[in-house]
């Protein structure tokens, strides 16, 4: 990114009181900030407020949490690094970018963690708490010196900040207050509106004591003053006045509000990272809307409660992550078999097994599609942005009801915890579920009165006079009578499968980002949308004939894919899940295990699709994808 220096601002009344450093103002279209601390020191809160105030001031924003798996890992260790990356821009920001330009670090060890991950720009400005350099403990002084030597290999610019010393002038517990001091630093550097920040602090602490608010604001102002007196640069990321009202929230909040907008009445869950924060939010507000969160005794029971409520005519969903999806498998199969509408949200994390509980992966795609024994056709869709997290709940609910089917919504840790502003949804009555008709059913109505062409049938709900029947997970006929004969079982399979084909015909082909034809087509799904499109745009600026499509529906697949693929010399998926590298030992074209979307698309289209996948436990960086694009453009055209 280019940083164009401009002239310093005229001295203000406040700044004329004492000698101030000469200031450079960097005016840039976008900038990336990281705040990292030991877990428990509040860097998350600092960064969240910084992201929100930037959104409120009209910047594009995307945030990503840097989060350890433990609540209180040992302090001053690289593993303890906790915080946030916030990328702000003049235009909408769609991903976390490549490198951080400004870092506020509460100690050198957590900084080292980010450095070793290659997260920092070559010329990053690092504001670092410097009490460790002169600490009483010689081991700490040595650790500091060693770290500084390692970090010194790069051309970072260090600014030592006596955070602890400063905070002690306001609070007795600086460890709990440094985050607001850091927020003050950033607020000054980026000229953030202090009144708006005070409002956000008030919101954060609205249920707590006034004294807490006062001390947080005092620390904020202290950091702001310190920056004003000591820093020789400021950074301007101009904002554009939005043409529509916007809201800012993370993907899990968007899912929660989306569930309410969809008219959902019950969220059944069991605690699991990174899905839980959605149900925290719902637990706080859902009852006001006439809904409720049921924390079940286990993942299986949560699915069962959702199925039971839906059977009884209420709109219910279950929310979980990969391990929980595995446990819900049998109930999902039952809902498919009984044609009970069910929405299951899977906020994906790294797997298999317990895997990477707090970190992003797109590893549940094939499990979501094919996890159930037998043939269990159902819909799988994947939102790609925070806004789509909101919208996907109404979409999922409508599909589930109209087709009497299961809909799995695949979000991920990147969407769940990332914050992005988006146009304020204009929800109207049509979004909300209609109460089901509980009137008597006509005589002779069969509980599965399948339209022979489309497999669709009308639901009959307990309470409807004359509609009594028993749904069953056993093979059954239109009367829901158990039947094991070939005609009964095969007909049931056809009817349940046909619904998906009917639904697929209602979908539109995906839009191509870039030219309609070219050398390379990137295919992605889920939270990688922004990073992929940014990489494609950068490659196109370099003259590479690359385009991308991003799939929202994975089951059934959106139509027209084969036709789109035909127009490109090569097609490659980009995914955050595991695949063998073609040149690795023992790997051949025959035994190579490919990315999950790649696997699916190859099977469905018979196109020889390539994949480029990584499982770093963090979102993909656009720069990485750009390199992959350069490396995979068909050779004969890159001469």
């Amino acid at each position: 990114m280019t940083m164009a220096p401009s002239s310093p601002p005229p001295p203000t009344a406040a700044s004329s009181q004492q000698a101030r450093p000469e200031r450079t103002i960097l005016r840039v279209p976008e900038h990336t900030v990281e705040v990292v601390s030991d877990s428990g020191e509040g860097a998350q809160k600092c960064a969240q407020i910084f992201g929100r105030v930037s959104a409120k001031m009209g910047n594009g924003v995307w945030t990503v949490e840097i989060i350890p798996a433990e609540i209180q890992p040992p302090a001053r260790t690289p593993e303890s690094a906790s915080g946030n990356r916030i990328r702000i821009g003049t235009k909408p920001v769609t991903n976390w970018g490549d490198h951080a330009d400004v870092v506020v670090a509460f100690n050198e060890q957590v900084l080292l963690h980010r450095h070793r991950l290659g997260a920092l720009a070559e010329d990053a400005i690092i504001l670092i708490e410097d009490q460790w350099a002169t600490h009483d403990d010689p081991d700490i002084r040595k650790a500091w010196a060693d770290a500084m030597e390692e970090l010194g290999q790069r051309s970072y610019r260090f600014i030592h900040v006596p955070m602890e010393e400063q905070c002690l002038t306001v609070t007795d517990t600086p460890r709990r207050g440094k985050n607001m001091f850091a927020l003050g630093l950033l607020a000054w550097i980026y000229s953030r509106d202090l009144d708006k920040i005070r409002e956000l602090i008030a919101q954060e602490f609205r249920k707590k004591a006034q004294a807490l608010y006062d001390s947080n604001v005092a620390l904020l102002e202290l950091g702001h003053r310190w920056a004003e007196e000591h820093l020789d640069f400021r950074i301007q990321v101009p904002a554009i006045e939005a043409d529509r009202p916007r809201v800012v929230m993370n993907g899990n909040q968007a899912l929660a509000l989306g569930a309410i907008a969809a008219g959902m009445e019950l969220c059944a869950m069991y605690p699991i990272t990174p899905a839980t924060s959605a149900s925290h939010y719902l637990s706080d507000i859902f009852e006001r809307f006439g809904g409720l969160v049921h924390q079940a005794e286990d993942e299986i029971a949560a699915a069962g409660v959702a199925v039971g409520a839906s059977f009884a005519g209420k709109v219910a969903f279950a929310i979980t992550s990969g391990p929980g999806l595995a446990l819900k498998t049998e109930f999902i199969g039952l809902a498919v078999m009984t044609e009970i509408p069910l929405v299951v949200v899977d906020v994906q994390r790294g797997g298999p097994s317990t895997g990477l509980p707090t970190k992003v992966e797109q590893g549940d795609l094939l499990a979501a599609l094919f996890g159930q024994p037998g043939d269990a056709p159902h819909v799988v869709l994947a939102p790609a942005t925070m806004e789509e997290c909101f919208l996907s709940m109404t979409t999922a609910r409508r599909i589930a009801e109209a087709f009497r089917c299961v809909v799995i919504v695949l979000s991920d840790a990147n969407l769940a915890t990332g914050v992005q502003p988006f146009p304020r949804p204009e929800v109207n009555e049509q979004w909300l579920a209609q109460s089901p008709d509980l009137g008597p059913v006509r005589e002779g109505l069969r509980p599965y009165e399948w339209d022979p062409e489309r497999g669709l049938s009308r639901r009959v709900i307990p309470g409807q006079p004359g509609g009594m029947h028993t749904v069953t997970g056993l093979s059954h006929d239109e009367w829901s009578h158990v039947g094991y004969t070939p005609d009964v079982h095969e007909r049931g399979c056809v009817m349940r499968s046909r619904k998906l084909a009917v639904f697929q015909q209602m979908l539109r082909p995906p839009l191509v980002h870039g030219d309609d034809a070219g050398d390379l087509l990137i295919v992605g799904w889920g939270s990688t949308l922004g990073a992929i499109e940014e990489a494609v745009d950068r490659a196109r600026e370099e003259g590479v004939a690359v385009s991308s499509v991003h799939l929202r529906f994975l089951s059934p697949l959106e139509p027209g894919l084969k036709e789109i693929f035909r127009r490109f010399k090569k097609v490659m998926t980009v995914e955050i899940n595991y695949s063998d590298e073609p040149n690795d030992p023992y790997i051949t074209d025959e035994n190579r295990r490919r990315g999950q979307l790649c696997w699916l698309l190859r099977a469905q289209t018979l196109v020889d699709i390539e994949c480029w996948t990584r499982v770093p436990g963090e979102p993909l960086r656009p720069g990485q994808i750009l390199q992959a694009i350069r490396g995979h453009v068909p050779q004969e055209v890159t001469r």
């Binding site: 509000l257 009445e265 307990p462 309470g463 006079p465």
Partner: protein, 317 residues
């Protein structure tokens, strides 16, 4: 059970209609001749007739196993689900449709083995549901495997030299769970007692857990044979707050007066000491009922939209 107002209830039951046993009968039951389940089915149908429960307002929910075929033979709404998971489905129904009369039918494998977590936690939730444990001490549908309630030494296809472990006691396990509110035991071969117990369970406000000792003519033929032939092996728990069946009093001479409010005594009586006790062990109508604790206001679409806009304001840029 307490009928509550429900937003979904757009048409009430037909007040003038009188329901008869035949109204609750569905397909002919396909259990083995001599299976205790037949008697339990009849008792349940008789209960519904007595209480005049509209079939459309009644739901029978089951898992998998011989016992779990039960809903297919009732002309009510039914849910024949997956092994061990009847209780979560029932909670889902009752939680948002408290107007429905919900019955759960489980076998001993369903309740005490694969679904044991749900058994314990449903006792804690205490929804207003009747749960019937049809306990024949064996896995029948899958052809004679050891169940948690198989007596030690009973040979099966999985433990041919005899069940390795002492049998789990569903009564003491249930009575040990916080919030258990109704625990009773009855037997399929004492129809009057069976019916009276189901009636008491239905009229209980809260989760009514009834263990029904049930004969399997295929695999545990002798399990209750002694008690069937010799009423002297049975001890009836009697009390005005329990189950009173006057016609049984001459046949079953062993009677113990037990106040179902006395939890300590209930736990002592539930311990195995060679006697088979039938009656209400414990009953407490005062415990909070889950769907009442979790009752939420009914909101119109307009109210929901207004609230949603207020919530979106909090996230406004």
């Amino acid at each position: 059970m307490i009928d509550q107002a429900c937003s979904l209830l757009s048409c009430g039951p037909d007040e003038d209609r009188e329901w008869t046993m035949a109204d609750y009968e569905s397909a002919a039951a396909r259990w083995c001749p001599g299976c205790g389940d037949h008697a339990i089915l009849t008792a349940a149908q008789r209960l519904l007739e007595t209480e005049q429960l509209p079939p459309e307002q009644t739901v029978f929910i089951s898992g998998i196993g011989c016992a779990s075929r039960f809903p297919h033979y009732m002309n009510t709404y039914g849910f024949h689900g997956i092994h061990g998971r009847a209780l979560p489905v029932a909670i889902g129904v009752k939680l948002r449709r408290p107007d429905l009369h919900v019955f759960v039918v489980m076998g001993d494998g369903d309740c005490c083995s694969i679904g044991a977590a749900h058994w314990i936690h449903t006792l804690r939730y205490n929804p207003d549901i009747v749960a019937l444990l049809l306990d024949n001490g064996v896995y029948g549908l899958t052809k004679n495997q050891t169940s948690p309630t198989s007596p030690k030494g009973k040979a099966s296809n999985t433990q041919p030299r005899g069940a390795l472990l002492p049998a789990l006691n569903p009564l003491s396990a249930t009575l040990g769970v916080t919030n258990a509110s109704f625990v009773a035991q009855t037997g399929d071969w004492v129809p009057a007692h069976l019916y009276a117990t189901l009636l008491a369970a239905y009229r209980h406000r809260g989760f009514a857990f009834v263990r029904i000792l049930q004969r399997c003519p295929q695999y545990t033929t002798d399990l209750f044979e002694g008690a069937v032939r010799d009423p002297g092996l049975i001890e009836l728990l009697v009390h005005p707050d329990g189950v009173a069946v006057s016609e049984l009093e001459r046949l079953y001479k062993n009677q113990v007066r037990h106040d179902p409010a006395d939890l300590d005594a209930a736990r002592r009586l539930a311990e195995p000491d060679g006697k088979i006790r039938l009656g209400v062990f414990y009953r407490n109508d005062a415990l909070p009922v889950y769907e009442e604790t979790r009752a939420v206001p009914t909101r119109s679409h307009a109210e929901k939209l207004a609230l949603l806009n207020t919530e979106l304001d909090r996230h406004a840029v």
